[in-house]
Each structure stands twice: as structure tokens, then as C-alpha cells.
Symmetry: C2
Subunit: 86 residues, 2 copies
């Protein structure tokens, strides 16, 4: 069974986010007011072949914990859907 | 009115994605089989102050087009929800 997986990785609260801070500082000068709390993270998409959804979730969770995110400074959140094409 | 915005920026189909390719190549050796079509993009979250949802969507769209994404090589997708906390 194929699953389409999206993992969003973002910095934990309290960890400095210079990319986000730069965007936030720049926008008012570029004509966009009202933007705040900018955070820049990663969005990793992939296709996973797994026997069922529970197994797929377990695999993605381990993948995040061990390789995709750095759990000391990053949180990860996954969303998973059954792939449309076989 | 405050909106929580998530913008996902990913490379357009056909644009080389060395980060994704590296992850895809490395995973089988690390014990994860069955992962394919890995793509690495950006996830930008922020809070936007706008009078209503239509105006918020228009602002985020322009923001993406002009600053957050490079439309030559990147696609962007937004999701927007009314902020929980005032």
C-alpha cells in the first residue's frame, strides 16, 4: 500500500529562528504590515510503501526521530494519506 | 482578525532536488526501505492581521509570489485558519 506522507519540521519554541526573524523584519519595509511570529521550517514529502496505516505511521515516526528532525531543537508533525495512484 | 497561515513551498516538478535525492539514496542503507519520491521544501508559518479571510488570502498570495517563493522554480500552497488566541 502506498502512502503520501508530508512531514513538517519546525524549530521548537524558544530556539532562535534567524530566517523567520529576517523575513519578519523585512516585510513592513516591503509593504506588508500585520505579519508576525514568522517561523521557517522544512516540509518533506515522500511516498512510503507499507502494509497498513499503523505500520506506515510507526515508520515515519522513527524516520523523523532518527534522521529527518533533530529532536533537541526541532519538532515534527506528520500527515499521511493513502496514495491516489497505485 | 488574526489568521494562522502555513505556506508550503516546494520545487516545481522537473527541478533538481539534491536534498531530497540525498535522503532517498541514504535511507535504504539506514534500514528504511520503501521510501521514494522524496522532496524537500520549506514550511513557513506566520500570523497575519487582516480584516477578513478574502483579504488575508490575497495578501498571502502576493507575499508568496513576490517574496517567499521563487515562481520560476517553486510552487507554493497556503493553508489559513482563524487564529485561536486573540
Amino acid at each position: 500500500m502506498k502512502f503520501d506522507v508530508l512531514v513538517e519540521i519546525r524549530l521548537r519554541p524558544g530556539i532562535a529562528d534567524p530566517q523567520g526573524a529576517t523575513i519578519e523584519r523585512a516585510l513592513p519595509a516591503l509593504g506588508f504590515a500585520g505579519v508576525s511570529q514568522v517561523g521557517v521550517g522544512k516540509a518533506i514529502r515522500f511516498t512510503l510503501d507499507a502494509p497498513d496505516e499503523a505500520e506506515a505511521r510507526a515508520q515515519v515516526e522513527e524516520l523523523c526521530r532518527r534522521f529527518l528532525a533533530n529532536p533537541v531543537i526541532e519538532d515534527s508533525e506528520m500527515s499521511l494519506s493513502v496514495g491516489a495512484a497505485p
